[in-house]
Symmetry: C2
Subunit: 204 residues, 2 copies
DNA sequence: AAAACAATTGATCAAGTGACCAATAATGAG
DNA sequence: CTCATTATTGGTCACTTGATCAATTGTTTT
């Protein structure tokens, strides 16, 4: 077999180890889904004893909730930072929609669907989902309000646009990325946003 | 404690027992979700030994897939039977949309979301989901085509309308039935269908 | 250098899962 | 009424899960 690799156990500071576990948990969520976030799976990926995960996260449900919150929040920050960097309001919306329609976002869409479903039975995850959704709503509402679009009520427009995007998430699961349903969903998001804000998006 | 209830074991014919198990599995799916469909949970609900379930369904994944297929197919048949009973094409669509927006459909919406998510890791369930979605697509497409609406391509219109309805399913999980997001989603379905088919729906 | 500290291990527990199968008893046939 | 058929039981196996805790070992302090 392979050479016996000596079990060097690295000792990290609590903050570092905690961050490492959280990060690995996030990877598992994005790559394998919430159902794959088990003590042993995570410990093996970290090259660490299962008990160590318990030491930093006494209950794994809290870890799942926090890891999801981390991913969701990071995505919102990234997307809106990129959007607000654009010059005109219309360009900002165009950038946001383009990023949301990017096939690379598929993993995040899958995670959202997973979280919606799993939050039925997991209170902490459910709380994190609600917080993340509110964050989305607030950010998008602010972006619309600042833009001065022909939208009577920015909050309502934000809710409607988010509903379109959520619906897009489903296509990420049930269809392959190149399936006809996917293109239909894309078109509906673009047309819906244009209609909602009274603008024309010039997406590649 | 309570009086010792004698364990009368009723002996059903194979067909009857199989149907009983399938029906009970459907109840579990609608009431507690796919994750709650376990041998023991199901056996207890039936007042039967766990092994009996295995006897009729050697692998429980097949049972889950078949139970989902049963529920989904039954819903399609019921909804379209009610719709086609209406006199005019517009009334048919109105009836279908009204039924889909009925709060009582919440359990079915939750099951669909559950199935979409779970089908990621369960091949047989995934197959059943695809069949059910195709059935929906075919039925709706036929209804639109027969109606002679101002829709250039009935198949595309059906896909778009189903995407709207799928998006509505998410609201069933994340919001309470009386939350604002729910009303927004309802409005989007109605307006989307009206725009897609060039009609005006008169829903209560 | 020695001691105190604490991050980490490894083993173990109880609970829950799907699956399997010989034994049992209800039902129907002769 | 008797017997054969078979639907059904109940016990068990192997596995996975989250969780707990004394023991260990690396790091830091004295």
């Amino acid at each position: 077999m392979a050479t016996m690799l000596k079990p060097v156990r690295r000792r990290l500071k609590p903050d570092e180890r905690r961050a490492a576990i959280l990060s690995a948990a996030g990877d598992v969520l994005l790559h394998d889904g919430i159902g794959a976030l088990t003590l042993r799976h995570l410990a093996q990926r970290l090259g660490v004893a299962p008990g160590l995960v318990n030491h930093y996260f006494p209950e794994i449900e809290a870890l799942a909730a926090e890891a999801f919150a981390m991913i969701a929040e990071a995505e919102v920050i990234t997307l809106f930072a990129a959007a607000t960097a654009m010059a005109t309001p219309v360009a900002q919306v165009a950038r946001l929609v383009a990023d949301l329609l990017d096939p690379q976002r598929r993993a995040v869409s899958l995670l959202w669907l997973d979280a919606w479903q799993a939050s039925r039975n997991r209170a902490q995850l459910r709380a994190a989902v609600i917080v993340a959704m509110d964050l989305w709503q607030d950010q998008l509402c602010a972006l619309i309000a600042r833009g001065g679009f022909a939208a009577p009520d920015p909050a309502v427009s934000a809710t409607r646009i988010l509903a379109l995007i959520d619906g897009l998430s489903i296509q990420a699961v049930i269809d392959a990325p190149d399936a006809p349903g996917h293109a239909v969903a894309r078109g509906m998001v673009i047309e819906g946003v244009q209609r909602e804000l009274g603008i024309v998006l010039d997406l590649v």
